[in-house]
Each structure stands twice: as structure tokens, then as C-alpha cells.
């Protein structure tokens, strides 16, 4: 393998500092774009396994305790604490899940508009507006999701439907919090004018991630509301 001294590799003036840890936006865009998709690939495995968990426990329905369909006052089942369970577990109110999903979809669209404003150099104001609204939408989603935990008609201990449903809620909450962190960062940085002059690539990654999370949460909400 031959090594040659290349003298034509200097960056244009004002280009990257001469340290390898710090590269031009184009290089960082390429790297972070690939990394993001790899992370999304890992997240896909999570979601796939959650769906598998839902349908497998639902299909197996050990002891009829998916939702306790056979539990009656005559022959009660026992819940996780050994107390008698005398009725079928009611299904959760679907509207909370729908609202959360919608809010996160909205946040994803706002991220998209922020990216477009940055690409079109539409000015700091529009970018800040989009990132702010995205953050608000996400925080609203977090609040609604937390409120649903209190409003559920069941607890985790009454069978696998309850367990899986709350697990889906938990994953939606985690993803929403993760996005909120990013949204907050983008709000602060867009106010500081980081994305004014065409430095849009971070917003693009943010948009891709937000869209994936919106899609996954829509799928999970659909499953948890339809296949009860």
C-alpha cells in the first residue's frame, strides 16, 4: 500500500480548523445522517419487538388473562397481588393515545417547516416560530401522556393487556421526552441564529428523527387501540 504526501488537501481559508475532531458541515452532515439512520434501525428493532410482545401475549392468552375475559364473580381470577378479579378488564380510552399521536405528528411537521425555512433562508423569525411550536406540541404530548397514566381504568397487575398497554404508553412518553430535549435545543440554537445562513443539516436530521418517531407512535397507537 503506497502512501503519498498530498499537498492539495488544504481547506479554503476560514475552512475547518486543522483538528480532526472538528470537520466541515458537509462532512458532519454525512456522518451524522448515517449515524441517525443506524440509530433508527435500532429503534425499529425495539418497536418490532413491542409489536411482537403485544400480539404474542394476546394470541397465547395464558389462563385467559390477556384481558381476563373469563373472570366472573362466580369464579374470580387473581390479579398480580392475589386479590380476586371478578370482571373483564375494560379497554382504555383511545382518545388520549390519538391526541398524543396527533401532537407528535404536528411536532414532526413543524420540524419539517423549520428545516424548509432554514433551507430557504426564510429568516430567523420563521425558524424560531416553528421550533417553538414544535416544543410546545411535544410538551403538550408529554402532559397528556402523563395524565393518561392517572386516568387509566386499570392498573398493570390485571393481565397482559394492561401491562402491554402501559408499556406502549411508557415508550411513547420516552420518545416524546427525547424529542422535547432536541426541540428545546433547536429552539435555543435557532434563537441564537445557528440556522439562519443555510446551516440547515441538523434541522434535517431532527426532522427525519421526528418523522420516524411520529410514524412509530402512530403504528403503536393503532395497534393498542384496535387489537384489544
Amino acid at each position: 500500500m503506497t502512501l503519498t504526501a498530498e499537498h492539495g488537501h488544504e481547506e479554503p481559508a476560514g475552512g475547518e480548523p486543522p483538528h480532526g475532531h472538528h470537520q466541515s458541515p458537509a462532512q458532519r452532515h454525512r456522518k451524522e445522517h448515517l449515524a441517525l439512520w443506524l440509530f433508527i434501525g435500532g429503534d425499529v428493532v425495539f418497536v418490532a419487538l413491542m409489536i411482537f410482545t403485544w400480539f404474542y401475549t394476546r394470541a397465547l392468552n395464558t389462563n385467559g388473562m390477556w384481558r381476563g375475559a373469563n373472570c366472573t364473580t362466580a369464579n374470580p381470577c387473581t390479579d398480580g397481588l392475589g386479590n380476586p378479579l371478578t370482571h373483564q378488564v375494560p379497554t382504555a380510552n383511545p382518545w388520549y393515545g390519538v391526541v398524543v399521536a396527533v401532537l407528535i405528528v404536528v411536532a414532526a411537521l413543524l420540524a419539517w417547516s423549520a428545516e424548509r425555512s432554514s433551507r430557504e433562508r426564510a429568516g430567523r423569525g420563521t425558524i424560531v416560530t416553528s421550533t417553538t411550536c414544535a416544543l410546545v406540541a411535544l410538551l403538550a404530548a408529554v402532559v397528556v401522556q402523563c395524565y393518561e397514566f392517572g386516568a387509566l381504568p386499570f392498573t398493570t397487575i390485571v393481565g397482559t393487556y394492561a401491562s402491554a398497554y402501559e408499556f406502549f404508553m411508557g415508550s411513547a412518553l420516552t420518545h416524546a421526552l427525547l424529542l422535547s430535549f432536541l426541540a428545546l435545543g433547536f429552539l435555543i440554537r435557532s434563537r441564537a441564529g445557528r440556522y439562519d445562513d443555510g446551516q440547515w443539516y441538523q434541522l434535517r436530521l431532527y426532522r427525519i428523527f421526528a418523522v420516524w418517531i411520529a410514524v412509530s407512535i402512530c403504528v403503536l397507537t393503532f395497534i393498542s387501540t384496535v387489537f384489544t
Binding site: M1, L3, T4, P18, H21, M65, T156, A162
Partner: protein, 642 residues
């Protein structure tokens, strides 16, 4: 580019005084922050939750999570995200300081982003983990000297078996991608560092913070469930199971971070002219192993999250009485578990192929075939998980298909053997220490492979499953195979990583002890297995006595061999003779940079015009682009990082 790291250092403020708090963080601040936060978390959770249902489990989980978060905050894992969030990005000076410039040996105890530092940290961590796991293994063999020994109580024995298994699995997962991929791979592809240096350092300190969680298992009542922690037994276990699950969760997260980093580095950071098919084979192995890890590790995390919610919040995914099933655990676990075997195996084999090439002075036989075999293994290994479940009663109708995929995977594995012996064929075999371990790998892995065929077959698996035969089989593949290959890689890259030559005389004594003792130990275990001794039992029928004594004697000799090798490593590292830049006359790029390797690896950006396997060929093979006149690197330049 012409400017090197060195001149930059003089006129930039790099002292701790310059950069604020960030430059005062090290392992001590990490420990302090971790312990403080853990204590706070314990106070709060104990006040709120203790006494409620599953209170203890929640308290343990919260406390240990706080430790992990606190430690990483204290040592600086979260600086990057936090400074991004607050629009206060790192300046180039910050990055140079984070890369350890001008901090000497101190940088090994800091959140250092230099990939060579991270690799060295990983090397030490892996050796420590092997020491812990080996000690526990010796405790197991000691218990089994006599059929009804009272050396350990059953509960202690189960815990030791569990922690031994998990420690060794964790150590073998990171034993090559940790030290060697981090240290060697960026140089091999002509990069200055990994793609995400902070992520790289984070992956190390995160897994470091998981080790105390694993050892805390000893103080929290012990785990009865074995490293596979089959539910619902693991849902029944003492609170130690919570911290055990958390350990794995954190560890898997770290492996995922590292995997992303490795893949991105190889895809985007290659030097000019380093096309994908000029990559050294070790680079391919690291990439494909990490890719498989990206598939396996989320499943590991998923299984453990469900476990923690079952134990600490009363969900019932694994509890049959409330509608769950252990088969859910077994599926998710083995969906992780079998790919994970190849996550362990592929990088060491790839590293070993570099050794085979260098020490038989020949091009790699069937470069493309090896890559194809790795890809085929990646693809097949995600379809074979249920051969661990032949005897669980789950979906007996699927035994046929899984038997098919399992036996198909032996075809790409066989191709790897073809490429190894094809490279040896008519080579000028140079029998230095690394080559010894290559031949040991060949010997052991063939035995491991043949015995694996029985277990892939349903009728024979009915005899051997959960039997000492299985234990012996996977020790032959993972320890006799992967670990010997990794040892060959260590002996091979030791001069480049430490700048010292490994003492081969001591090394060869250690090798022969290890080689012989290994056979005694695990052939003894095969004997136990044939006689029908089950796995993980602390008390056994005296008819298995002789086989067990054989295995125990072998194990004691084996640990002596490893200790001798460890002594050789420590001794040569401390006061061995300085190594030349290229003691083996190898042709991959890492041997063309000076030793010790300067901070940015390359004083002059390399331009690659051929693959590194031009042994016996004229140096200038026609390359994609006409390369300019070859010039030589200024020797020993840079040195900023060393």
C-alpha cells in the same frame, strides 16, 4: 493537508485553567457525583416507595440508575449534548483538550476522546473483566471437585455461575471491538480518529459505570437464574436481579453506541483511495460484527426492560398466572442471543485473518469470499434463534426450519476455514507468538464446530440440551475459538498499542500451558456431558466424579497459564524493550505510522493505491486513480498524543 497537530498546540490555551469546569472532570469527580446522586436517589425513592408493592425492587432500580447517570455526568459523558443544548459548542481548543493533549498519563483517567486512549482503556477493562470472570470460574470448578462439596451454598453457587457467565459474555463482546477496533481500525483506514470521538469515549465510560452494578449483585441477595436469567425464575429472584438487568441494559446501550460509531467511521472516514474493497479484512469484520450488534443489542435491552417492569411495576409479561409467558422471554432473549454469538465471533476471526496473512507472508486467500461469508453469517444468524428452544416445547413444528437455518450457517463458517487454510497454503509460515494462537484457534474451533452439529439436530439436542456437553461446546467456540483469536490479535498489535515488544519466551510457556490445560478442562466437560451431568448444578451424582476432577485440574492449570500471560503483558508493558514501527513487516496502514502513534495518527494524509495484501506482488498494482510519486512519511513526526 500540511498543518499537523503539533504546531497548533503551542499557541492555544490548553491548561485546565482555560476551559472552565469541563477541564476539571475525571474519574474521581465521576465517582463522587455517582455516589452522591445514588444516595440522593436512594433517600427519595426509599422515602416514597419503600413498603409499597415491589418497593425494594423500585428502590434498587432507581438507586442504580442514579449511580450510572451521576457517574457519567460527573466524568463528562453528557457535556457534548448539554453544551449543544445550551448553544455553547466545544471550541477546537476544547476538543484538543478533550483529546488529551498535554495531559500525559492523566488522560487515561479522563473522558478522553482520543481513539487510542479509549482503545487502551478498553484493553485494561477487558482484562479486568476476564480476571473477575476467571476467578468466579475457578470458584465453580472448586465447588465441583467433590460431588457434595460445602464450599458454597446453593444460592452462592447459582450467583457465581450467573455472574461468571454474564461477565464473560460482556467481556467477549467487547474484547476485540473495544481495544483493537478503537485503537487500530481508524489508523487502518487512514482516518485521524473515530467518526464521533465523544460517542467513542462515552461508550467506554458507560460500560465502565455498569461494572459496579454487576458486582452489586453480590450484596443484594444474589441471582439464582443463570446468565440466561430465564423468566419467570428471574422475576422471582432477590432484588439483585434488578441491578443485574440494569447492568445488561447499560452495557447493551454502550455496545450500540460503539457499533454505530464503528460503522460510520468505516463508511465515511476512509482515506483517499481506500475503497471498500481495499479495506483490511479486520475492518470488514469490525463493521459487520457491529452491524449485527445493532440488531441484537436492542433486543437485549427490550428483554431486560420488560424484566424490570415485571419486577418493579407489577406488569406480567413473563408471569403465566397473569397471562404472561416465559416463552416471550426466551424468544426475545435468543433473538438477541444467537446473533450475539456472532457479534462475539466475527471481529476476532477477522483480526486473526490479519495475523494469518502477516505470518504466512501471503495475500489473504479469497478476500471477497471472507466478506461474503461474514455477510451470510450476519444474515443467517438472525434466523436461527429458536435452536436454543428445541426443548422448550415452544412451536415444535418450527424445529425443522430452524434446524435447516442452523445447519446452513455451517456453510459460510466452513468457507472461513477454507480461506484460513488457503492463506496458510504454501505460505512462509513465520511461527511467532501470534501464530501459535492461530493454530490453537484452528484446533479448538473445529472441535467446537463439530460438537455444535449435534446440538443443531433435534434428536441429539434432546440428549444434550442443558447438559455439561453444551457448556463444553460453547467454551470451545467462544473461549477456545474467539478468545484465542483475540489473544493472537493482542500479541500481534501489542507493539503498536503499547510501544513495547511482548516477551515471547514467557508468552510461549504460557501458550503451551493454556493449550494443554484447555483441552484437559473442556474434554473433561464433554465427558461429563456424555455421562449426562446437567449444567449449573452445585451437587452431582458421584458417577460423574472422575470427569469433574479432570475438568477441575485442567481449570487450575488453565488459570495459571492465563496468569502467566497476564504477567507477561504487564511486565512487557512496564519494562519491555521499545518496539519499532513495523516489527512484523506487515503492510496495513497502522504499521506505517510511527510508534507511539501521534495524536492525529497521520502526519501526512495517506493516499491508498492498493489493498494491503500485496505480499509477493509488485508493490504498484494498477489503482483506480493514478497515484502521484510515492513519498515517504517523515518518521516519528507529531507525537502530540504520546
Amino acid at each position: 493537508m500540511t498543518t499537523t497537530a503539533t504546531p497548533l498546540l503551542e499557541d492555544t490555551p490548553l491548561g485546565p485553567e482555560a476551559g472552565g469546569l469541563y477541564r476539571h472532570q475525571n474519574i474521581v469527580t465521576g465517582m463522587v457525583a455517582g455516589i452522591v446522586l445514588a444516595f440522593v436517589g436512594w433517600l427519595i425513592s426509599h422515602a416514597l416507595l419503600q413498603g409499597s408493592n415491589w418497593g425494594t425492587d423500585m428502590v434498587v432500580t432507581v438507586t442504580m440508575t442514579c449511580w450510572v447517570i451521576g457517574f457519567n455526568a460527573g466524568i463528562g459523558t453528557f457535556n457534548g449534548p448539554f453544551r449543544w443544548l445550551t448553544d455553547n459548542d466545544q471550541t477546537p481548543e476544547d476538543e484538543l483538550y478533550a483529546a488529551g493533549v498535554g495531559q500525559g498519563a492523566k488522560r487515561y483517567w479522563k473522558f478522553c476522546t482520543d481513539h487510542k486512549v479509549v482503545g487502551t482503556q478498553y484493553l485494561v477493562l477487558v482484562m479486568v473483566l476476564f480476571a473477575v470472570g476467571g476467578t468466579l470460574g475457578m470458584m465453580i470448578r472448586t465447588q465441583l471437585i467433590t460431588p457434595h462439596s460445602s464450599f458454597m451454598t446453593p444460592q452462592l453457587y447459582n450467583t457465581v455461575v450467573t455472574v461468571h457467565g454474564m461477565t464473560m459474555i460482556a467481556a467477549t463482546i467487547i474484547m476485540v471491538t473495544g481495544p483493537f477496533t478503537n485503537f487500530i481500525m481508524p489508523i487502518m483506514i487512514g482516518a485521524k480518529d473515530m467518526a464521533f470521538p465523544r460517542l467513542n469515549a462515552a461508550s467506554f465510560w458507560v460500560v465502565f459505570s455498569a461494572v459496579p452494578c454487576l458486582l452489586a449483585v453480590f450484596f443484594l441477595g444474589g441471582v439464582n437464574a443463570g446468565w440466561t436469567t430465564y423468566a419467570p425464575l428471574s422475576v422471582q429472584d432477590p432484588p439483585a436481579m434488578d441491578t443485574f438487568a440494569l447492568t445488561i441494559l447499560v452495557f447493551a446501550a454502550s455496545v450500540t453506541l460503539a457499533g454505530v460509531n464503528i460503522i460510520v467511521t468505516i463508511v465515511t472516514m476512509r482515506a483517499e483511495g481506500m475503497t471498500m474493497f481495499r479495506l483490511p479484512i479486520f475492518t470488514w469484520g469490525s463493521m459487520l460484527g457491529s452491524a449485527l450488534g445493532l440488531y441484537a443489542m436492542p433486543a437485549f435491552i427490550m428483554a431486560m426492560v420488560l424484566m424490570i417492569t415485571d419486577r418493579a411495576t407489577g406488569t406480567s409479561f413473563y408471569v403465566a398466572a397473569q397471562g404472561g409467558t416465559g416463552w416471550l422471554w426466551e424468544n426475545i432473549f435468543w433473538i438477541m442471543g444467537h446473533p450475539e454469538v456472532y457479534v462475539i465471533l466475527i471481529p476476532p476471526v477477522a483480526a486473526m485473518l490479519e495475523v494469518v496473512v502477516t505470518f504466512s507472508r501471503k495475500p489473504l486467500f479469497g478476500y471477497v469470499i471472507v466478506i461474503a461469508a461474514f455477510v451470510a453469517i450476519d444474515a443467517l444468524s438472525i434466523l436461527v434463534w429458536a435452536h436454543h428452544m428445541f426443548t422448550t416445547g415452544w412451536a415444535p413444528d418450527l424445529s425443522g426450519p430452524f434446524m435447516l437455518t442452523t445447519e446452513l450457517i455451517s456453510i459460510p463458517t466452513g468457507l472461513l476455514f477454507l480461506c484460513i487454510i488457503g492463506t496458510l497454503w504454501k505460505g512462509k509460515i513465520w511461527t511467532r507468538l501470534p501464530m501459535f494462537f492461530v493454530y490453537l484457534f484452528l484446533w479448538n474451533f473445529i472441535i467446537g464446530g463439530v460438537t455444535g452439529i449435534y446440538l443443531s439436530d433435534v434428536p441429539a439436542d434432546g440428549l444434550f440440551h442443558n447438559d455439561m456437553f453444551v457448556t463444553a461446546h460453547f467454551h470451545y467456540t467462544l473461549m477456545g475459538g474467539a478468545m484465542m483469536a483475540a489473544t493472537a490479535a493482542l500479541c500481534y498489535w501489542f507493539p503498536k498499542m503499547t510501544g513495547k515488544m511482548l516477551n515471547e519466551r514467557i508468552g510461549k510457556v504460557a501458550f503451551w500451558i493454556i493449550a494443554v490445560a484447555f483441552q484437559v478442562t473442556y474434554l473433561g466437560m464433554f465427558w461429563e456431558g456424555f455421562e449426562g451431568m446437567p449444567r449449573r448444578v452445585a451437587y452431582y451424582d458421584p458417577t460423574f466424579l472422575h470427569a469433574n476432577q479432570m475438568a477441575t485440574v485442567g481449570a487450575y492449570a488453565l488459570i495459571l497459564g492465563w496468569l502467566l500471560l497476564l504477567y507477561d503483558i504487564i511486565h512487557s508493558w512496564r519494562n519491555g524493550t521499545p518496539a519499532p514501527a513495523n516489527p512484523w513487516g506487515a503492510k496495513t496502514l497502522e504499521w506505517k505510522v510511527p510508534t507511539p502513534v501521534p495524536l492525529e495518527n497521520f502526519v501526512v494524509e495517506p493516499v491508498v493505491t492498493s489493498d494491503p495484501y500485496t505480499y509477493g506482488e509488485p508493490e504498484k498494482v494498477p489503482s483506480a486513480k493514478p497515484a502521484p510519486e510515492p513519498e515517504l512519511i517523515p518518521g516519528g513526526g507529531g507525537g502530540g498524543g504520546a
